[in-house]
Symmetry: C2
Subunit: 355 residues, 2 copies
Amino acid sequence: MKSHQITIIDIANTLNLSKSTVSRALTGHPNVKVKTRERVLELAAELDYQRNQLAISLLTNRTQTIGIMVPEFLSSFFPKVIIGAQDVLAKAGYNVVICHSNESYETEIVNTKLLLASRVDGILVSHTKETRNFEHFKIFDRKGIPVVFFNRIVEEMSVSKVAVDDYEGAYQAVEHLIKTGKRRIAHLSGPDSLQNSRSRLNGYRDALTNHQIPIDPALIISYDLTLDKANIYVNHLLNLPQPPDALFAINDPTAIEALKVIKSRGLRIPEDIAIVGFSDDPISALIEPGLTTVSQPVDEIGREAARLLLNQLAADDERPEPELVVLPTRLIIRGSTVTGEIPTGFGDQTSLPSF
Amino acid sequence: MKSHQITIIDIANTLNLSKSTVSRALTGHPNVKVKTRERVLELAAELDYQRNQLAISLLTNRTQTIGIMVPEFLSSFFPKVIIGAQDVLAKAGYNVVICHSNESYETEIVNTKLLLASRVDGILVSHTKETRNFEHFKIFDRKGIPVVFFNRIVEEMSVSKVAVDDYEGAYQAVEHLIKTGKRRIAHLSGPDSLQNSRSRLNGYRDALTNHQIPIDPALIISYDLTLDKANIYVNHLLNLPQPPDALFAINDPTAIEALKVIKSRGLRIPEDIAIVGFSDDPISALIEPGLTTVSQPVDEIGREAARLLLNQLAADDERPEPELVVLPTRLIIRGSTVTGEIPTGFGDQTSLPSF
DNA sequence: CATGATTTTGGGAACATTCCCAAAAATATA
DNA sequence: TATATTTTTGGGAATGTTCCCAAAATCATG
């Protein structure tokens, strides 16, 4: 049983004013006597009046709400992005609704309908690994609701996007492996449906080629990011007649899974096989050996995506040109690729939260 | 520029019907001719009509939205809770708005206002470690908006709550240490403001007392969960004239921090000092040695909290009695407390997500 | 075929707010 | 003091929907 909500009419009646005047007083409209405004504000505070955003939204057709859709949020990556975006959006007066599609295309479609139904003013999206058809996002575009992609971006849609330099990150990771003397470098890649997966693969390829190392297709395995399968693929690689002496994994969870397999087989890391991941998950600094990985400015991805969305939202006449922001990556070297001076594991300043 | 939204009036005009009839057809009201309903549904589908939830909310004073407020969501704990809750709530037709207060009392107050302004139908809350005054939550109660606490529960409010058996979990953890021969067991406790922190401390105390081990106040340190301080306290404990031979930490991040310090001092785990955490964070299975910890049914906490909220929401006449659900914990034994048969680290089936 | 019963439809109020325009009040000017 | 000007206020429409009640249409029964 929700109790009666105080409305401007309640205030108007008590003060013998019209709702129009009360509305003006509360919204800071200039045409209202100072004395009257004071009386209204005082009573409003006293009654703990809260303006009903629903009514305003109905009238203005704006909900001041942004939807953020991510494929999952169990790893620290997306929560960090969300926190960054939320911070920027909150300062601009927007609420945020978070959806996670659980890497399922079906769920993503459902979420899309949900966000449409709750009449969000815009959305920030990182699509699922299953998504190959983007019609459900184009609906937003057609309705004039701005869409910004981040992390996993969609080339076929002309909207603002935030990515990191996946190509360069991968290139540097592989180059680092080459410099430590590795020659048979395997790549556990992600699904072809993900743009960042394709870019990382390209970076891997070009780094090898530019260092006159032939590309061995047997060392490139593309998989669907289902971790228990990573296990199988790593074992497969290790069982090759000519097993790899290094592994560049599409992301940290995959790299960690590989690390488990390799350790359990009694191989030495990095002497027998070196490992590099991608994203610098907090776990990567804690395991042993510490995981060399390509870090991304995660928080900044969220902030930047939010800014691009606000840019689109700000223009009330005509949509501004879509923008593409590519943020830099940075190679973090730990014990999984080098021995000696670099402390193995536990070397980094990480801030784990408390619960 | 948002484009015009299709309304029931558009449909009514096209079909020469009144908005009332169209509304009935769409909502499945029985008093409408089958033929008419078909025509309406057909046109609605064709025009991609979406009912405007804002208008309905304004009318019914229900937003079909639930707020979830958590102190942080960088660790895997709260995201998992949120996923569980969201699943249950979505099936009951509710949307979810997520707020994180970043362990800040100030932010929590701001979030409270936000949720109040967006007229949520109910809230699920785990308060910050700073929160000692709960007036901002009582406002919801007074307005008839049900509140359910989980994980960090508030004793002074008579609302539904979901907790785990912190006392029993702590008791078993400490008893396990005693059984492995440890006698000087330290406890790095959380702030006194958290009910679960107090319960775990009680479990620790009673386990010692029941095994005729005197409680040494020098071995109990209560801290504010700021991880860099954990470092200091662990060093302090190790520097005692009679250092502890075991450490029971309030949570896994604290335990992992302790593990780092202990390893860096060259002590053996568990021979010199054993460690137990609380919550079974995915990291705990990956580090070396694996961390013995008290696991909680995280997903189920969220589901149960959502169910209790739905119970409160369902009764449209009078609020039902608040319920308290206490879920069981389970001790997960790993290499940080025992040597030998138990695999050290990497022993568990963990599912890390992909990004 | 008329009358009553039932099904189907339409009109208007209500939800809380803002905004436009007109009316009223206050103030300035002659 | 009368008139013009400015400030302040009030009334009503509009937003999109549901629900109630009355009106209209259809159907059944004698």
